[in-house]
Amino acid sequence: MLVTLCLLQVLSWSGLIPTTMLPSAAQVLADTVGLFGNTEFLLDVVATMEAWAIGLAIATAIGVPLGLVLGSLRVAYEVSSVVVEFLRPIPSVALIPLAILLFGQGTEMKASLAIYASVWPIFFNTLYGVRDVNPISKETARTFRLTPFAILRRVALPHAAPFILTGVRISAAIALIVTISAELLAGSSAGIGAYVLRISSGGGSTSMVFAGTVVAGVLGVLVNSVLQAAERRLFPWKHVEKAA
């Protein structure tokens, strides 16, 4: 990170690339700091985060139960796999026009695209997590006369939980990317993407555009570290020292 910044700074000092194309790292940093005092921009950040959070929450609410059910019933998966394999490769960006038609240019549109893009890692990680349960674990639960539903809740779900959280972590980044892309491409009125679009089309400085992108990156890092901290707290057994 630091090395990259220094390299960028040296590159701009060298004059090889005009500063209108690649502003100096110092300038971008200064503009980034400045953005945090910019109320209009902060509202953009809130708008992005809102659509992102709604999208990720709904994707989790869909992906986890679906993964649990399809992961434990092989027949159900075989039946549904055609639909899954058809939907999955469709890039969410290609659905932007449809989403605008259905939901307009606001939060619903952004969130719906975020859901579409981020549901897959959550779904597949849940599915594989459930399938990864040791058969002996399930037999143990069966000998204690747990119902299939109780086995799903008390054995498959806790076993799959770390997989699920990893899925959510991957999806968090994807949802952020898609939300900002949607703002940019759909010409949303608010959001980090909308800010970048306003500055760049309004003849603003390259440095200000870069600053907006830096903020998006910082948000990504923050969300990821929050989820990593959650992982350590939620799954202590993953982090205990193992006996020899």
Binding site: N134, P135, I136, S137, E139, T140, R142, T143, F144, R145, L146, A150, R154, V155, P158, H159, A161, F235, P236, W237, V240, E241, K242, A243, A244
Partner: protein, 261 residues
């Protein structure tokens, strides 16, 4: 208490049909410790899974407390060889032992009492808050036994429970089984491929043939109790019994011999 009648089981169908269990009959009476011993690959686990109600056999019948087994019956607990798979890694030792008690509609005090008592019986009182991966293999298997004890089963099925621990630990765990059996007055069916273990623990040993499997013989073990790893095993009777079992299992022509005898 547990009666197995002409049990047979085949895997696959048609030309791929493989007869694993041919004809198995024996019974376990209340309070008895019966061990089942046989050569590796003789379908011991298949037999145990059928008795636990985890898998319907293709022929014969098993009755537990007079009722034919159709699914997993109440009052039956199983200790698996694979304790790593059987203990839930996301639960502490205490919560693992508590696991089967959720379905039993017990009061909080009763649950706590059973967990405490079971952990004490296997010597894990101070490890209630640890996770299974923090314990050695032998201690993990103790935890699995404690969980089965807390469930208060009428019969305890043990599927080669000590096959993955070292020899010293194994002897300790064998003695632990004898202790908890006395203390809780348990009926135990112990499956093993270890001849010494089968004789040392049991009141009766059921000796199985190579597949397709049937019962070669059932031996009464009249060794004095309490048994002791050193003193019991140096008794001439012990040596005779273990040799009898070994001959039955090891001899290449056991199947013909047993059929004619």
């Amino acid at each position: 208490m547990l009666v197995v009648e002409n049990l047979s089981h085949a895997y696959g169908t048609g030309t791929h049909r493989h007869l694993a269990l041919k004809d198995i009959s024996f019974s376990v009476n209340e309070g008895e410790l019966v061990s089942i011993v046989g050569p590796s690959g003789c379908g011991k686990t298949t037999l145990l899974r059928a008795m636990a109600g985890l898998m319907p056999p293709t022929g014969g019948q098993i009755r537990f407390l007079g009722e034919p087994i159709t699914g997993v019956p109440g009052g039956l607990a199983m200790v698996f060889q694979d304790y790593r798979g059987s203990l839930f890694p996301w639960l502490t030792v205490g919560d693992n032992v508590r696991f089967p008690l959720h379905t039993a509609k017990l009061g909080k005090a009763e649950v706590a009492e059973r967990v405490g008592e079971s952990l004490a019986a296997v010597g894990l009182t101070n490890f209630e808050g640890r996770y299974p991966t923090q314990l050695s293999g032998g201690m993990q298997q103790r935890a699995a036994i404690a969980r089965a004890l807390a469930y208060r089963p009428k019969i305890l099925l043990m599927d080669e429970p000590f096959a993955s621990v070292d020899a010293q630990t194994r002897e300790d765990l064998e003695d632990l089984v004898l202790q908890v059996r006395d203390r809780f007055n348990m009926t135990i069916l112990f499956v093993t491929h270890d001849i010494d273990e089968s004789v040392y623990l049991a009141d009766r040993v059921v000796v199985l043939s190579k597949p397709p499997t049937y019962v070669l013989t059932t031996l009464d073990i009249d060794l004095p109790r309490p048994r002791d790893q050193i003193m019991t095993k140096e008794l001439p009777e012990f040596i005779h019994l273990r040799s009898d079992v070994a001959r039955l299992i090891r001899r290449p022509d056991t199947s013909e011999l047993a059929v004619t005898s």
